[in-house]
């Protein structure tokens, strides 16, 4: 029955010729998205001012070079360990340290003393990594993500060049700050000889991470080859200061009852 309707409509359009009404755009969730008032306008002054003065300013002014510490929760199992290693090859200037029962609050002052800029903690459950805590160290925001569908790398290894970073679809204020957190992980000057790109793509509040190698086959065509691990993140909470579960000041928490009700409302 639908097919019949479609055929009829197409015939009508062809019959009308030039006077036909414009083609109907299919409704997608992205089209129907509830308008979020905190959407960032690229020309927004307030946002630009905020960015210049918040915790990432030294990074974006190229005063600090990112140095990252990757660690896990207690007793990491095989998959998590391998994932940590692969992550450390993907992100330049990163070190993996194992944690044998050390409290995070005690690690943080030590990290600051040793000049680390970011801390990544991968939480594990039943032998697979399922959570990620990313905190910018000198008193920066802490983001807690839920990690799902982790795929480890197969065979091809990335080189030691600094990759480029692509951040897609981070529209709202919250998304903007999260995006800048991700950008602060990578050094500022990508080496284009390396032809590697790390992508953080936000779609409906899920952030997909991919790591590719690209070549330009011609002016209009580019070929990409996936290498490196892939995972998806969902933001659970964002804290103002460094990691502190009890006394920290939360900027944003995902409240399931309130925020998951509408299918067309997204926050990132």
């Amino acid at each position: 029955e639908k097919l019949a309707l479609k055929k009829k409509r197409r015939k009508e359009r062809e019959a009308l010729g030039d006077k036909a009404p414009p083609k109907a755009i299919p409704k997608t969730i992205e089209n129907q998205r509830v308008y979020d008032e905190t959407t960032v306008d690229p020309n927004d002054e307030e946002v630009a001012f905020d960015e210049a003065t918040d915790e990432f300013a030294p990074y974006f002014n190229r005063q600090t070079v990112p140095k990252i510490l990757i660690t896990t929760s207690d007793r990491p199992r095989g998959r998590t360990v391998r994932f940590c290693e692969q992550l450390s090859t993907v992100i330049p200037n990163s070190h993996v340290y194992y944690r044998r029962g050390l409290a995070l609050k005690k690690i943080i002052p030590q990290c600051i003393a040793r000049d680390f800029t970011d801390l990544i903690v991968i939480n594990e459950d039943r032998k697979i990594p399922n959570g990620l805590v990313l905190s910018h160290l000198p008193d920066g925001p802490t983001a807690h993500f839920r990690m799902s569908s982790v795929r480890l790398r197969k065979e091809i290894k990335p080189t030691e060049h600094v990759p480029e970073v692509i951040l897609n679809n981070f529209t709202t204020r919250l998304g903007h700050s999260v995006g800048r957190m991700f950008a602060a992980l990578f050094p500022h000057d990508p080496q284009f000889i390396g032809r590697q790109v790390a992508t953080f793509h936000n779609q409906r509040d899920y952030i997909f991470f991919r790591f590719h190698r690209y070549i330009f086959k011609s002016e209009k065509k580019v070929g990409i080859q996936e290498l490196g691990p892939r995972f998806t993140l969902k933001l659970r909470s964002l804290q103002k200061g460094t990691f502190d579960s009890k006394f920290g000041e939360y900027e944003w928490i995902h409240k399931r009852r309130e925020m998951d009700t509408s299918r067309r409302k997204f926050h990132l």
Partner: protein, 231 residues
């Protein structure tokens, strides 16, 4: 956690409330053992021994509890199955909607257009078309510029290719891409050259001389990798 000693006397079985007698044991481990002994004085030896063993175990686990509460506690949060399924489903749909490969390719092409990569990538066809389509009065200066560009191109491309020689394994995979693209390039180039015979021959002269040179370069470079593939 303090320990108590409870004693049951069968004579009092009729009164359940008064069935058990309670004695508070001291905190000191050895003193408590003595107290057990003196309280259970007329009881069989086996029972006394077992009671003391139990008491030892209890004190040990109390000590462990106290130590653990001082360390970090792991909070166990229950997963809700319905919510988890919902999230999984939404993630899959988001993945499909995202079309990551296309998005990444578009982004890269845009960056190429906006010249963020500088002069590393030079595509002779497009530059050539642009040059022809723009003002013809500037053709001479442009041809000079193009000669220079193409000189740089040779050098850059030579560097480009040599840098990649180190990862031959990558090259083997990319080989298919590159050979096919290179074939396309050749075909397109030939077509372009054929379709513009009416164009300026003086312009074309140096360009044409340069182009087959470039093509030969590519072919040479891909041959050894092809050989390694066969081997």
């Amino acid at each position: 956690g303090r320990c108590y000693l409870y004693m049951k006397t069968i004579e009092r079985a009729a009164f359940p409330r008064r069935l058990w007698e309670r004695v508070l044991l001291s905190k000191n481990y050895e003193k408590a053992l003595e107290e057990i002994d003196e309280n259970l004085i007329y009881w069989p030896r086996f029972i006394r021994h077992k009671c003391k063993q139990r008491f030892t175990k209890i004190t040990q686990y109390l000590i462990r509890i106290r130590k653990l509460t001082l360390k970090r506690q792991r909070k166990i949060v229950p997963l809700r199955r319905k919510i988890e399924r919902r999230e999984k489903r939404r993630e899959e749909k988001a993945l499909v909607a995202a079309q990551l490969d296309n998005a990444i390719e578009k982004e890269l092409l845009e960056r190429l257009k906006q010249d963020t990569y500088g002069d590393i990538y030079n595509f002779p066809i497009h530059a050539f078309d642009k040059a022809l389509q723009q003002q013809e009065a500037e053709s001479e200066s442009e041809s000079d510029a193009e000669k220079e560009e193409e000189d740089e191109e040779d050098v850059d491309q030579r560097e480009f290719v040599e840098a990649d020689d180190s990862d031959i394994s990558d090259f083997e995979d990319m080989d298919k891409l590159e050979t096919s693209s290179e074939e396309e390039e050749e075909e397109v180039e030939k077509k372009a050259s054929r379709s513009k015979p009416k164009g300026k021959t003086p312009l074309k002269g140096p360009a044409r001389r340069k182009r087959p040179y470039i093509e030969i370069e590519y072919e040479e470079e891909t041959e050894p990798s092809a050989k390694t593939k066969a081997a």
